[in-house]
């Protein structure tokens, strides 16, 4: 056993046993962040705060929610919304945060793509981030089942049907996932388990991996400049704070981070109190009814772009392209053959066009995914879906021609 001396203070006592000063240095005050960044670098912290809001509001909702097909709807819409003091507030926070978290994830993701933050050395940051995106998607979907309204039921029906694999007719797999022929009690209970236990655990683990992946390559900067963190941090610690290209995570970077978080929270609570309806689909305020299909079934807005890639094609081709859309982002570090790790706008015309077209096209796909697949909307959706696939196929070719800037 290590040698322990009589502690001179509580801090010293903890230091001898937990090395709290060392931990604080490694995690915060001597974890180095480049100075050449903008507010988009605060999105990680914004996501952490939003996830915390989801976790805390979720714990409060869990105290009253009942995962039973007969009582689930009323436990949400009657007990929580009307009987529990401030139950409506926790539900609105949970619902709005579940939607807004995806807006921030998309901003975070496109920031990464724009600044080339997935390039050599940072692949694990990108992969762990995409795994987080997938688990957040599963978390959002499983949570959407819980109020057991019409949209819960029919979204559950549509999404589980995807696992039949079109012509493969893997109907047994669909029944195995549902635990029944149709979404019913077994289905609700297992999605409840996924939503409140397994997926949150996976998310917590992946957040740990995401942070760990940042440790060695460090965060990127606006110019994709390779910074010698050892030399720059030494400069900082030796007193040349102005000349060093880096700053402390805490409290230097955190102070700006928290300012961005503050502005974000004003926006967030504006949505919670005054503009929450976008996160609360009116159709889901009708109790689930297996005999009454709603006129329009559409997923929440953050799934619309991939839904629209599924929709315009025949069943099998649609499923293949849908699967393609789900995994293709993960492969970005290898599909981008360019030697440049700088902002998209400075990598030359082809990639600049690729980036902005991808962003615009995903917004078009998102819009078309919600609109009824009729007339001009299905034509636009078809063209956009084809364009999405074509852009990814073209990416290795256009980036391999890029010259070092």
């Amino acid at each position: 056993m290590a040698h322990f001396t009589k502690a001179t203070s509580v801090k010293d006592w903890l230091n001898q046993r937990l090395a709290i000063e060392k931990v604080e240095k490694v995690m915060a005050s001597e974890y180095w962040i480049p100075k050449n960044i903008n507010f988009l670098w605060a999105m990680g912290m914004v996501l952490m705060i939003t996830f915390t809001l989801l976790l805390v509001s979720g714990i409060f909702l869990l105290m009253y929610y009942q995962p039973n097909v007969d009582t689930a709807f009323d436990s949400v819409n009657y007990t929580i919304m009307r009987e529990v003091d401030f139950g409506w507030l926790w539900r609105h926070i949970h619902g709005v945060a579940a939607s807004v978290v995806f807006l921030i994830i998309y901003i975070h993701m496109f920031t990464g793509i724009y600044y080339g933050s997935y390039k050599k050395g940072r692949e694990m940051i990108w992969i762990s981030g995409m795994l987080l995106f997938i688990t957040f998607s599963a978390e959002a979907f499983s949570g959407y089942m819980l109020p057991w309204g019409q949209m819960s039921y029919w979204a559950g029906m549509v999404i589980t049907n995807l696992f039949a694999g079109g012509s493969l007719h893997a109907d047994a797999l669909v029944e195995w996932i549902r635990g029944d022929y149709v979404p019913a009690q077994a289905f609700l209970t297992r999605f409840f388990m996924l939503h409140v236990l397994l997926l949150p655990l996976a998310i917590l683990g992946l957040i740990g991996l995401h942070f760990a992946a940042l440790r060695i390559p460090h965060v990127n900067n606006q110019d994709g400049e390779e910074i010698d963190f050892d030399a720059e941090s030494k400069k900082y610690l030796d007193g040349d704070k102005k000349g060093a290209k880096v700053m402390r995570f805490a409290n230097d970077f955190m102070s700006k981070d928290m300012m961005v978080v503050g502005i974000y929270l004003v926006f967030f609570f504006y949505l919670v109190f005054w503009n929450y309806s976008f996160a609360m689909d009116p159709v889901n305020f009708d109790p689930a009814d297996g005999l009454k299909t709603p006129a329009h079934i559409y997923p929440e807005w953050y799934f619309l772009w991939s839904y629209e890639i599924l929709r315009p094609f025949s069943v099998d081709l649609g499923l293949i392209l849908f699967a393609f859309a789900q995994v293709i982002f993960v492969l970005l570090p290898w599909l981008d053959r360019s030697p440049n790790a700088i902002a998209a706008n400075r990598r030359g015309k082809p990639f600049m066009i690729w980036f902005w077209l991808m962003l615009a096209n995903m917004i078009v796909l998102t819009a078309m995914g919600k609109l009824p697949p009729e007339g001009i909307y299905s034509s636009i959706g078809f063209v956009s879906a084809v364009l999405f696939v074509a852009q990814w196929v073209a990416l290795p070719f256009i980036t391999s021609r890029e010259t070092k800037v």
Binding site: N36, N38, F39, L40, L103, I107, Q222, D223, F278, H296, W301, L304, A343, L359, I363, T366, A367, K370, L371, P372, Y377
Partner: protein, 148 residues
């Protein structure tokens, strides 16, 4: 690189708002067609310029217009020509009593529904004389050469 936070913020807000507009107000406007309020003004129907003459109106209702052939007018002591069940079976509809029609309906709507019910009720896609589908309420074709 110059730190251009305002421009970056504007870009983020712009794309977020475009997405919001398309997914929420625009999509819902397409999914759920606009329904006019109770103050609907029938702007698509022609403006009524002529003033009526009560005596001639009564003459028309009872005579050439043949309104009372189907409709009852309780306040004027005009009974309906058929029992409701019978009327429903014959016409597919039950002709409403006209006692309060003048108060109940907008002036523009009332004049137009008499002249062309399928048009005023916006059911021309179902009742098209050319395809042999007449509206259960026959249009008034005019009396004495002047439709209005």
């Amino acid at each position: 690189m110059k730190n251009n936070e305002k421009v970056i913020f504007a870009v983020v807000v712009f794309f977020s708002l475009v997405t919001y507009y398309l997914v929420e107000p625009y999509a819902h406007h397409v999914l759920h067609k606009h329904v006019d309020s109770e103050n609907f003004e029938y702007a698509d129907l022609p403006v009524v310029t002529k003033t009526g003459d009560v005596a001639r109106g009564q003459e028309l209702v009872n005579g050439a217009g043949a309104c009372v052939g189907c409709h009852s007018i309780d306040v004027a002591g005009v009974p309906s020509t058929m029992e409701p069940q019978m009327a429903a079976a014959s016409y597919g509809v039950n002709p409403p009593d006209l006692s309060n029609a003048g108060t109940l309906y907008d002036e523009k709507f009332l004049t137009d529904v008499i002249k062309n019910p399928a048009h005023a009720l916006k059911v021309e896609h179902k009742f098209d004389a050319a395809s042999g589908q007449m509206h259960p309420m026959a249009p008034f074709y005019g009396a004495g050469g002047d439709l209005d």
